[in-house]
């Protein structure tokens, strides 16, 4: 089971935070802070695991990947395979890359909803349901279309906010 997915930049600013069990916001913030504190001290070209039990409690593992200015962090338990999760991060990032054409931190900053949609297609309630980025793309496009269509119905009165809030 995947317990949490986090994306944060190299300054420690969270860019995406998803916890698959309810946690109060203060707790979420604390966890992210502690993960970052460990991450920022790690050299390049070392393994992608860090000891997570002290942060997330027993039976937790953590895998992260560092891309440009971002850390992608997945927290999970013993029913996932470490290398498979590492691949999963790769799938997630590749999907983002396809969606945004050379994804960069700003894409993730400004596309809050879309990032969540993408992640939701890959991980459902802590379980990995989709590992093909093509399938994810397909679903995400469908959903975007659907959102646009549902907003377009009453386009005339609400144009300004309707379009942009997507």
């Amino acid at each position: 089971m995947i317990k949490a997915v986090m994306v944060m930049n190299t300054q420690g600013k969270p860019r995406l935070a998803k916890f698959y069990e309810y946690l109060p916001v203060e707790k979420q913030q604390e966890l992210i802070r502690r993960v970052f504190a460990v991450l920022c001290g790690r050299a390049e070209n070392v393994s992608n695991f860090i000891e997570a039990e002290s942060i997330f409690g027993p039976d937790s593992r953590l895998v992260y990947k560092h891309f440009a200015t971002l850390y992608f962090v997945f927290v999970f338990d013993s029913s996932e395979n470490e290398l498979a999760v590492l691949d999963l991060i790769q799938v997630f990032v590749e999907t983002l890359d396809k969606c945004f054409k050379n994804v960069c931190e700003l894409d993730i900053v400004f596309n809050y909803s879309k990032i969540h949609t993408i992640l939701d297609e890959i991980i459902f309630g802590g379980q990995v349901l989709e590992t093909s980025s093509a399938e994810v793309m397909k679903a995400v496009e469908e959903i975007s279309k659907l959102e646009a269509a549902s907003n377009a119905i009453t386009l005339i009165p609400k144009s300004a906010s309707g379009w942009r809030s997507r």
Binding site: Q29, N48, I50, H116, G125, V128, R164, S165
Partner: protein, 938 residues
């Protein structure tokens, strides 16, 4: 202010505006956010759903990435959810899954919305609803929506179906009874040809099996098929995870799966699958030697890989193997040791752990040498990691693996000299512990201590102070082994000792005291012997004097002689001349003089003690050369008496004290331990607590010393002690209740501590133990402690066991597994509590209902489920009779029955599918629709 207007909606900030604003704000992030929140609070009250949903989205954003509470908006989220538009729904579901939890008050209002969306024709709406459910479902939601989920589990839209399968995990967990409804369909999905569905189902079973593997044993054939047939690595990994849990429970199963797993191991090119195979073999199939060998054979692939992740995981696997097959580690010894100098701290620590696993009696020297050398080169953190693991490994089970203690003590000394060493406290403990436990090592211990003490540079290192403390204590306590006590004295009194904290300095001074006494005593002995050899008439003044002294008992004299004899055997200290003694005394005065005014009580007191002693004895040695022996009856004798006395006091040995030593003191009959010790206070204010109590080392001895010393010092020894004894006697009379009865009618103003003669037997026992420790290096400390009565412990056991047992039966998971077992094994199995037996009754009837519905078309199935409860009640009646008969006392379900059940499983495995199906149904006598559970068993 609040009413929606065109202006509001036109000028509402979108999420993008908010994010842009946040990045460009000049007023500070917090200020900007609180302004935005104010805006949101207004907007969210709008009746216009577009405005409302945008506000909700912004709020979700601020909650998710800026951690602001959004619980105030739960009801608004519900309102947005009721919008017919997909985009609004999506925002609402996102907000809900962020902010709702089990105690959210409006949680139950969501049921109908969810139900509506679950039955929607739009698969994306269904998916939103399912996703939300997977995050927030509680008992009620899970119960109320079980029928809808059941239907969706066989939806022909794969997109929806896989999510329905996945959401079942949460539903089962929250509402175990849903198992009766959904489990069968979940199992059916195992046969699905679509890889996505299969991956979802296996994922669910993997989670379920992790919590309670035993319940899923009957599904082993299905899993086996997947293990053999599947080509999907994700699925295979999950199946392997399941078998890793199942195999230890059922040896036959383990035997079956070993070969396919080995096949995968040989064939696969995917590292993740290979790793999972290897891990499965070493954790769960470690009895199968060939498989383990194959798996271990794959480990080097990981260890030598460039990718640090593989290296790390390879080491992890090795440390799992190490528990049972140590040879695997030694096979990869080279790679492991090489990894010690890896750049990655994870890898280093993992390999350190492995290296420590390899340590044994015969290689501990070699490995420690390697590690200490390595520690010298590594960064401070890892250096201490190394030192810590050496210390803990070597001291395990009272130094089980150490044979050569001389070597170990010198290693400890060496370790403390490593620049980054922060393990002072642990080294201190071990030095003292070994000194006390192992007699033969003391010579080396003193040598090591001397080397540490004599180095002025070490005093500057704060982390070493604790080690120095141990060293000073050891060299004081075992000074008779010292080659050059005078040199030791210099070391203990060197000016840089001012860098030490007062508590340790006090120990330095006390040790100096011991060394001083030893030097003087040796000198006197030397003189005595020279005299006795040169002029036999002048018989050993010291000894005769001491014997004549009434405050001496024979034992101590013997001790004194003993000590010198042994010391004579062990080493030959430099001959001490009168001159050197005078120098020594001068040095002591010089060094300790300033400390008399120390602000620390402990230091001050120790210094005063020593100086007082020097004052008393100095005259003798100053005048010695002049007076020669003419004045032997005057002050000289008196001083040598004092020295003799002090020496005897110090030469008593400290033994290790068992933690349960107090328990060996038998409780006197009439003793009433009052619950409230408050009235002790009244008594305590009468007594002046002995100040040296706080001194940790050898306090019992000093207690005596202190008293006898002062007695002599004031020349009115008998009077003094009489005075104190009369005080004590009086006290005793007044508070007799709190005194232990005395053997002799005499007063004893010292406690019965470790070295009390009464306990001598025990100490001797210990001494024997110590010999054993050095010989066999395996003896756990002091056996007699087991003999003490332990009523409390028994109670503890009960306390320990009970909750476990209760948990077994009452925890939620177990009701889940109970439900699952009911489905899989038939209801005859394992129904420990009455409430559960009810459940199972219902379930079996439900199952029958389901069985029927399984054959019936889907339209009917729903009805069936709804009125499931009614027909079952009738059946339940006589079913439960049978139940009662079979399990008279269901609460007293014991391990035997558990075993029995296990047996049953085994046998059912043996018998094959049909028989077990009948077995389950036999006692029911309702054979009409006999639902055979097919294909569940091997």
């Amino acid at each position: 202010m609040s009413g929606p207007s065109l202006m509001d909606s036109l000028f509402q900030r979108s999420l993008e505006d908010l994010i842009k604003g946040l990045r460009q704000q000049l007023i500070g992030e917090q200020a900007f956010i609180s302004k935005a929140l104010e805006e949101i609070r207004k907007e969210i009250k709008s009746t216009d759903l577009s405005i409302k949903s945008t506000a909700l989205l912004k709020l979700s954003y601020l909650s998710s990435l800026h951690f602001h509470d959004m619980s105030f908006a739960t009801f608004h989220a519900l309102e947005v959810l009721s919008s017919p538009r997909f985009s609004h729904k999506k925002i609402a579901y996102h907000a809900i899954s962020l902010s709702f939890h089990d105690s959210t008050p409006v949680l139950l209002l969501i049921t109908n919305h969810l139900r509506k969306d679950l039955t929607s024709t739009n698969e994306f709406e269904v998916s939103l609803s399912l996703r939300c459910l997977s995050k927030i479902a509680n008992v009620d939601l899970a119960r109320d929506l079980t029928p809808e989920i059941f239907t969706l589990m066989s939806s022909n839209k794969l997109y929806v179906r896989k999510k329905a399968v996945a959401v079942v995990l949460r539903v089962f967990e929250k509402y175990p009874d849903s198992v009766r409804v959904c489990f069968k369909r979940l199992v059916e999905n195992l046969d699905n040809s679509d890889p996505q569905i299969l991956s979802a189902v296996i994922g669910v079973f993997c989670e379920l099996a992790c919590k309670d593997p035993r319940s899923y044993l009957p599904l082993a054939p299905e899993f086996y098929k997947i293990l053999v047939d599947s080509k999907n690595n994700w699925v295979l990994i999950k199946v392997l995870k399941i078998f890793a849990k199942l195999a230890p429970l059922e040896p036959r199963l383990a035997k079956r799966v070993v070969e396919p797993i080995c096949d995968h191991m040989r064939r696969t090119g995917a590292k993740s699958l290979l790793f999972e195979c290897v891990r499965t073999v070493v954790t769960s199939l470690s009895e199968y030697d060939s498989a383990v060998r194959l798996a271990v054979g794959k480990v080097p692939e990981f260890l030598v890989d460039e990718d640090p992740n593989l290296k790390y995981l390879g080491l992890q696997v090795l440390s799992i193997v190490a528990q049972k097959h140590l040879w695997a580690v030694s096979q990869n010894k080279e790679a492991v040791i090489k990894s010690l100098s890896d750049a990655d701290p994870n890898i280093k620590i993992e390999s350190l752990r492995l290296v420590m696993a390899m340590v044994s009696e015969c290689n501990v020297t070699e490995i420690s040498r390697v590690l200490v050398n390595h520690a010298l080169k590594s960064d401070p953190e890892f250096c201490n990691e190394i030192l810590g693991s050496i210390l803990s490994t070597c001291s395990r089970n009272v130094y089980e693996i150490i044979v050569d203690f001389d070597w170990y003590v010198s290693l400890l000394g060496e370790m403390s000299r490593i620049p980054h060493c922060h393990k002072g406290e642990e080294i201190e403990n071990q030095l003292i512990d070994i000194g006390i436990r192992v007699k033969d090592v003391r010579l080396e211990l003193v040598r090591v201590s001397r080397d540490l003490l004599i180095d002025p540079a070490l005093l500057g290192n704060f982390f070493l102070h604790r080690v120095l403390c141990a060293a000073s204590w050891a060299s004081g306590e075992y000074v008779k082994f010292s080659r050059n006590p005078l040199e030791l004295m210099e070391a203990l009194l060197q000016p840089r000792t001012r860098l030490l904290p007062p508590s340790i300095r006090a120990i330095y001074i006390q040790s100096a005291f011991k060394v001083l006494v030893f030097c003087l005593h040796t000198y006197l002995m030397q003189r005595g012997s020279t005299f006795s050899s040169t002029s036999p008439d002048n018989l050993p003044s010291v000894v005769s004097a001491s014997v004549s002294d009434e405050s001496f008992d024979n034992l101590s004299v013997e001790n004194g002689v003993d000590a010198t004899v042994t010391h004579g055997q062990i080493c030959t200290p430099a001959f001490i001349t009168n001159e050197s003694i005078v120098n020594l005394l001068n040095m002591v005065e010089l060094a300790l003089g300033p400390l008399v005014g120390s602000h620390d009580v402990e230091v001050q007191e120790r210094a005063r003690n020593v100086l007082g002693f020097v004052d008393l004895t100095k005259l003798k040695f100053l005048n010695y050369s002049v007076q020669e022996e003419n004045d032997s009856e005057g002050k000289g004798v008196e001083a040598s008496n004092i020295i003799e006395l002090m020496h005897d006091a110090f030469s008593k040995e400290l033994g290790p004290i068992s933690l349960s030593a107090q328990g060996n003191v038998s409780l006197p009959d009439g003793l009433i331990v009052k619950e409230n010790l408050g009235d002790l206070e009244m008594i305590c204010c009468d007594i002046e607590l002995p100040s040296s109590n706080s001194f940790s080392f050898g306090s019992p001895c000093e207690e005596k010393d202190g008293v006898s010393f002062s007695n002599l010092q004031i020349k009115e020894d008998s009077e003094q002690s009489n005075e104190s004894t009369s005080l004590l006697a009086e006290h005793r009379k007044r508070h007799g209740l709190y005194y232990l009865p005395l053997g002799k009618s005499e007063i004893s103003n010292d406690y019965p501590p470790a070295n009390d003669p009464i306990l001598q037997g025990n100490i001797n026992g210990n001494a024997v133990d110590l010999v054993k420790i050095t010989e066999e290096s395996l003896v756990p400390k002091r056996k007699p402690s087991h003999a003490k009565p332990r009523p409390v412990v028994v109670k503890l056991d009960e306390v320990d066991e009970k909750p476990v047992a209760l948990k077994k039966f009452e925890s939620k998971d177990d009701s889940l597994s109970g439900a699952v077992r009911d489905i899989l094994f038939g209801s005859e199995d394992m129904v420990p509590t009455s409430s559960q037996s009810n459940l199972s009754d219902k379930s079996s009837s439900k199952r029958k209902g389901k069985e029927k519905q399984h054959t019936a078309p889907h339209v009917e199935s729903k009805e069936n489920l709804v009125d499931d409860g009614n027909p079952s009640s009738r059946r339940r009646k006589y079913r439960s009779h049978g139940k009662e008969r079979r399990h008279r006392s269901p609460r007293k379900k014991t391990a035997e029955e558990r075993e029995g059940q296990k047996e049953k499983e085994k046998s059912s495995h043996r018998h094959g599918r049909h028989k077990s199906g009948q077995r389950a149904e036999e006692p029911l006598n309702v054979s009409a629709q006999a639902p055979v559970i097919p294909d569940f068993l091997l």
